[in-house]
């Protein structure tokens, strides 16, 4: 056990800072900090990911032989921390931390060569096709069919809760290739080109009311979409195994750097907000509740270091990932609730600003409050997606506590 950082670690932190100062300049920081909402602008997002790739820092969780950054756990921690502090967009997970891992483990040599370099260098935007209307946390209920058409599959069905698919070049899907007694059987993992005829992307307007075109989620319709058989990953009917493998990457992320950053934002807001004759941050009741959230975040960070730090490279987080997902989402929601409290009446204006050079939206009130309520609304998703927190608690009850 050792909680001190080495000089090399601190030098690395400095290196990340210097890189960010240059590669993620003030102009971009301002563009993205106009609001607390994370709205994605494709051009900036891809440009930024390509910049990280050029530096060799795009694939933080990849093995070095595939082009991974080769960070130690401490370096990953500093990298996350500095990226978050700089307000740089997060690497989109769908290619880099999701499908890539499945391809590395289960893909053919051709698939690896065809897809991994484009993922590493952000030349292709990937999205995910798992959930279906009505499926909710019960993923195995999926009904999208892929029927044998000779050298190709014919895909028909609907995928929903798809994140940012309006920008995507490729989608990885779970499809049913046969009807089996166990619902988890007969599911296959398929890679589909988004330009294929028969695919329609329809936006879902979420309650945080993004500006048209900047929606976070979509429904995707597949109508007689032809997919070459070479796009099947692994074996037909084994898709459920691959999906479960991938889900653990989805749930095993560190939450604490992001939580600290939002706490810092809330502190900044509260220091500048007058309450009574003083600053809201000096109100003892407010400060107590702020510090309770800070301490919960510290416990989160310590847990992340204990769980994630104990893994060797390439190893997955087990059911403990449910703990990280549950507490990470709950603390994040509580912080956003506190931010809304700080904003007071300035929680009311609707913010539809987007990160564009020519964005004509005029925000209302102090910039740090823009989008505060919408962020609170948006974060309700975190206790619902990727297996709701109720499902996570069931998993822990069963797999960790041994309760049946």
């Amino acid at each position: 056990m050792d909680i001190t950082f080495t000089e090399e670690d601190l030098a690395f932190q400095q290196e990340v800072r210097s890189f960010l100062d240059e590669a993620w300049p003030e102009k971009m920081r301002l563009k993205y900090r106009r609001t607390v909402l994370d709205r994605t602008n494709k051009e900036d997002q891809m440009g930024w990911q390509q910049r990280l790739a050029a530096k060799g820092w795009a694939a933080v969780n990849w093995p070095v032989e595939h082009g991974g950054a080769g960070f130690t756990d401490t370096q990953k921690y500093f990298f996350d921390l500095e990226m978050t502090k700089a307000g740089a967009p997060r690497m989109l997970p769908f290619g880099m931390t999701m499908v890539a891992h499945v391809l590395m483990k289960f893909g053919t040599e051709e698939q690896k060569q065809k897809y991994l370099p484009d993922i590493l260098n952000s030349r292709a935007w990937w999205c995910q096709g798992y959930s279906e209307p009505g499926s909710g946390s019960d993923l195995a209920s999926l009904r999208t069919k892929a029927e044998d058409g000779g050298d190709h599959y014919v895909v028909n069905g609907v995928k929903t809760w798809n994140t940012l698919g309006q920008h995507a070049d490729m989608i990885f899907c779970l499809v049913r290739t046969s009807q089996e007694a166990r619902r988890q059987m007969g599911i296959s993992f398929l890679l589909i080109d988004m330009k294929s005829p028969g695919i329609t992307v329809e936006p879902i307007i979420t309650m945080d009311q993004p500006k048209p075109g900047f929606q976070e989620i979509n429904t995707i319709y597949f109508e007689d979409v032809q997919v070459p058989k070479e796009n099947l990953v692994g074996e037909e009917g084994k898709g459920w195994t691959y999906a479960k493998y991938l889900l653990e990457f989805e749930r095993g992320n560190a939450h604490s750097p992001g939580l600290y950053e939002t706490l810092n934002q809330v502190e900044g807001m509260a220091r500048e907000t007058q309450s009574g004759a003083g600053a809201l941050f000096d109100d003892s009741d407010f400060r107590d509740r702020f510090n309770e959230l800070k301490i919960q975040t510290m416990a989160m960070e310590a847990t992340e270091m204990r769980i994630l730090g104990s893994l060797s490279a390439g190893q997955n987080v087990g059911p403990e990932s449910s703990l990280l997902k549950t507490r990470g989402s709950e603390i994040g929601q509580a912080i956003s609730e506190l931010a809304g409290e700080v904003a007071g009446y300035y929680g009311l204006p609707l913010d539809q600003s987007v990160p564009l050079d020519d964005d004509d939206f005029v925000p209302v009130g102090p910039t740090h409050f823009n989008g505060v309520s919408q962020k609170y609304f948006n974060l309700r998703k975190t206790s619902i997606y990727a297996g709701s927190n109720e499902i996570q608690r069931n998993i822990m009850a069963k797999l960790v506590l041994g309760l049946e």
Binding site: S137, I205, A277, Y345, L348, P349, L350, S373, Q374, F377
Partner: protein, 378 residues
Amino acid sequence: MDLALNDEQLLIKDSVERFVLNDYSFDQRKKCVAEASGYSEENWAMFAELGWLAIPFSEEDGGLDGTAIESMVVFEQFGRAIVVEPFIPTVVLAGGAIRLGGSSEQRKRYLPALIEGKLQGALAFVEPQGRFDLHDLTTTATAKGDSFVINGYKAVVLNAPAADFLVVSARTSGAQRDTDGVSLFVLDAKQAGISRHDFTTVDALRASEIIFENVEVGADALLGEAGEGLAVLKQVIDEGTFAVCAEAVGCMEVLYKDTVEYSKVREQFGQRIGSFQALQHRMVDMFMAYEQSKSMLYMTAAYLEKGYDEEAQKYIAALKVQIGKAGKLVGQDAIQIHGGMGLTDELSTTHYFKRVTVIENMFGNSRFHLKRFAALAG
């Protein structure tokens, strides 16, 4: 002690309930929101015709002499449909300030037209630095002969885009946080020197940031005595607080009932999700939070009917705290239990959730009223 509605109050309740059930479905509400003004002028005319706009005003002013109970009945029903028509800004806030602080001439000038549905109003009382303190004002009204010149900035003024007249709080004397020296003025919303930045709120209402730049008004614009406006403003805001709390109770009723209904039909893993005990307990908590909020609302109404005294103020503070806590619990769990659907704009539940979230931030949040309660309870 009797917390039941009397026959006359039940008649009003039935009439408003019929409106929200027959004329204010979620789709009909969407149409109102989509209007250029953000609400339906047709509905507004109907409110006038049915006498609802007249409820809180005295017979002398053309009103019905209604008490807090009649108002509560209207707002609780409005909450069940999240009615967007600007009843609170015009009738309770701007109209209330004139009702409580206006001279007979001022009342004559504004109230009959308001009751007929021909005038919209807004109360400009929030300032960015003032947070929930009504007396924390940097807007000034400087005497100039027989008139006053108003300068300052007002934040998040609900219904200002549609308003024909504004009631504005401004300092005629004293320092920024003094409780003396606060005055209220009523003026034409289109008057020279007034500029607005209009916007939409997260709960689909219209509001403005307003700049007053050398806005000159006559002495007849002053409501009540110069420097004595805070008492009226406090009471008006308390009536607004009471109104949004009644609305929140209506919202919570829909939130918890819709969630229970959904859990009876929504299946996951081959079972109705309502059969999961973990969710059953949460829905029972939602039910209890709603019932206790409704009880507090009715109790507060009974106190207000007796008179706006310290005991009634204590109940209003307690009610706002109760509503804040219950609204969060009921709203958040309604979203959670609806799952992914609960995140979409398409589902009515999200709109109720947004409304109770906004209500928490209006007229002082739970924390503000908890402190106020401590001061009043001694």
